[in-house]
Symmetry: C2
Subunit: 334 residues, 2 copies
DNA sequence: TCTTGCGATGAAAGCGATTTCAGGCACAGT
DNA sequence: ACTGTGCCTGAAATCGCTTTCATCGCAAGA
């Protein structure tokens, strides 16, 4: 592996000049510049990232921790982050947090110890205070995804979940439904609470009334969705529609409905949340509230870049949900 | 940020001793050791990764390039790699290759320039020779996923695709099918060719005969699967079963079948390949040939670790497919 | 008592870049 | 001809760690 020293000798200049040519920090006379570039090419020289990092204290990489890199939901988000990183010559260091405070802390420390220049954090386990502290006192710029913390709102990229929840409920109402159930994610998650809130607001605004018996808390997972649905069918068998807090629970729920002989959407209409790609594959295909995850990933990355290079890219912090109509909701005819 | 120098002063030892305590390279007298550890704790010291890298020429990170991090297929694989990396205190640097030679090369160079200690590469665009060259002459150990290159077999982690293809066909044969179609992935991919090969072998072995008209080449994607299926229905409407080269194409295919009024599995049985999580969500749930992706990710990581630390972990290089029975295949009764 | 040997520690030399500081050179102005 | 002004370039310090090599002290053996 060639070093800057060897390049400088071949080009008959000092290492400093080579550095200047490569980084464009100081103008270099064209002929000199040319000699350097030729030497670089001849030796196939690549600067040593360690040495560079040691000298500049920047790594050229950004860290990402999400719940699980491998889930379609976070995968799409990470994909957006990666796009922007790559466009800007940065690399990605990833570490999964598994929605657990301890594990998230480990991941973050891990990435920071690798001296990444900035961090994109999607944390479900850590407390608000921890995040505020990280953002305010941490050694590198941090942006947060999927969580709006009031004190540090300017570094958060989130969905308008409340609006999304309302949207789902309004859509069902508009299709003639009145007895609309809701399977929420864990209410310890702000996302889940906000969606519930929106659902409630929409029902009340429509004069359909909010009834606690129609709401079951679950876990954002397929199995949980299936169980919650069984509970609902027992408790309020007259329901005509169910709004699920995410698509995975909707998938589980649709299975349970089928097992109980309820046709979707003939007997019960179903609406999900997220629009992970799964939604298009279900039968019937799932009507759902879309989160523009890739765009959100891009936004998070841009926000981080802004803090890194102090430029002012326009960044959307709060994304609007969008209703994707498919086949799982039917109009009530009486 | 504290440096080793400050720690050494607080502990009243030399930096060398601090380094020795932290790395365990040389025994240090217990009392000294204790003082050092206390100083480390007191200053909340973390070694500077750049300086360490510069001195040792190791980064503590491994690079991964796959087609797309965000796809469920590669996501699962990356997840396995991450598990092992984390267990061994390594971090992951990722970069997507998008199944394009140019892009893959960029990704690899990018990761190597970041001086990762080793590389896990899943390449679909690069030629065998490029990969051989990379493995033989590259600056860091490389292992390959999803591609068996004869000359460097010892660094490849692959599926027995041919066996998987045969397995799928045999399963259909065992269920009484004779007119079995196959939608392959791009035949430029060895995976796709091998699965086709297995399919053919099984048919011929069963005396069912191999007929080219029953085979359509597609692109491993949902839309492609849908189109290929339409073509098949036109060309050989008497088919009773279709074996798809992957689950995504099967998903698209099932949609087309439904649109053409063919019930699955009543009229046409369907079998997929991969067992990405999607398979469980389709209606009917998809019978498929499972690839143990997480295990393969773990194996690839272990293989890489072997080359990094020269230990001898037992690693499986060729994974056996496994047939997952669900609902999309019916027995033919006549 | 004097060596010998060994374990524990320190001093210092890298690792390979960046960056500050200063100097050299050419050219313009007087 | 001399000085001032800028533009280029080089020398050298620096970043923070690892590691070699040398040294020191002490116990054991002669």
């Amino acid at each position: 592996m060639a070093t800057i020293r060897e390049v400088s000798r071949l080009a008959r200049v000092s290492p400093a000049t080579v550095s200047r040519v490569l980084n464009g920090t100081t103008p270099v006379a064209p002929p000199t510049r040319e000699r350097v570039l030729q030497a670089v090419a001849a030796l196939d020289y690549t600067p040593n990232a360690f040495a560079r990092g040691l000298a500049t204290n920047r790594s050229g990489g950004i860290g990402v921790t999400v719940n699980e890199v491998s889930s379609p939901y976070f995968g799409a988000f990470v994909f957006g982050v990666e796009q922007v990183a790559r466009e800007n010559g940065l690399h990605l260091m990833v570490s999964s947090g598994f929605a657990d405070a301890q594990s998230e802390r480990t991941s973050i420390d891990f990435l920071l110890s690798r001296r990444c220049d900035g961090l994109v954090v999607q944390a479900e386990g850590l407390a608000d205070e921890d995040l505020i502290d990280l953002v305010r006192r941490g050694p590198a710029p941090v942006v947060l995804f999927g969580r709006a913390v009031a004190e540090i709102e300017d570094v958060c990229v989130v969905m308008r979940n409340e609006r999304g929840g309302a949207m789902a409920a309004e859509y069902l109402l508009a299709h003639g439904h009145r007895r609309i159930a809701h399977v929420t994610g864990p209410l310890s998650f702000p996302d889940a609470r906000e969606r519930l809130q929106g659902y409630r607001r929409a029902l009340e605004a429509a004069g359909a009334g909010y009834d606690e018996r129609y709401v079951v808390e679950s876990d954002f997972r397929e199995e949980g969705g299936a169980r919650a649905t069984a509970r609902l069918l027992e408790r309020v068998p007259d329901l005509t529609a169910i709004f699920y807090g995410n698509d995975q629970m909707a998938a589980g729920g649709m299975r349970t409905l089928r097992e109980h002989g309820r046709d979707v959407p003939g007997d019960v209409s179903v609406i999900g949340f997220d629009d992970v790609f799964l939604a298009r594959y279900l039968t019937p295909t799932l009507t759902t509230v879309r989160q523009p995850l890739i765009d959100m990933g891009r936004a998070a990355a841009h926000l981080l870049l802004n803090r890194l290079d102090h430029k002012r890219r326009e960044v959307v912090h709060r994304f609007d949900p969008e209703l994707v109509e498919r086949q799982s909701v039917a109009r009530i005819v009486r």
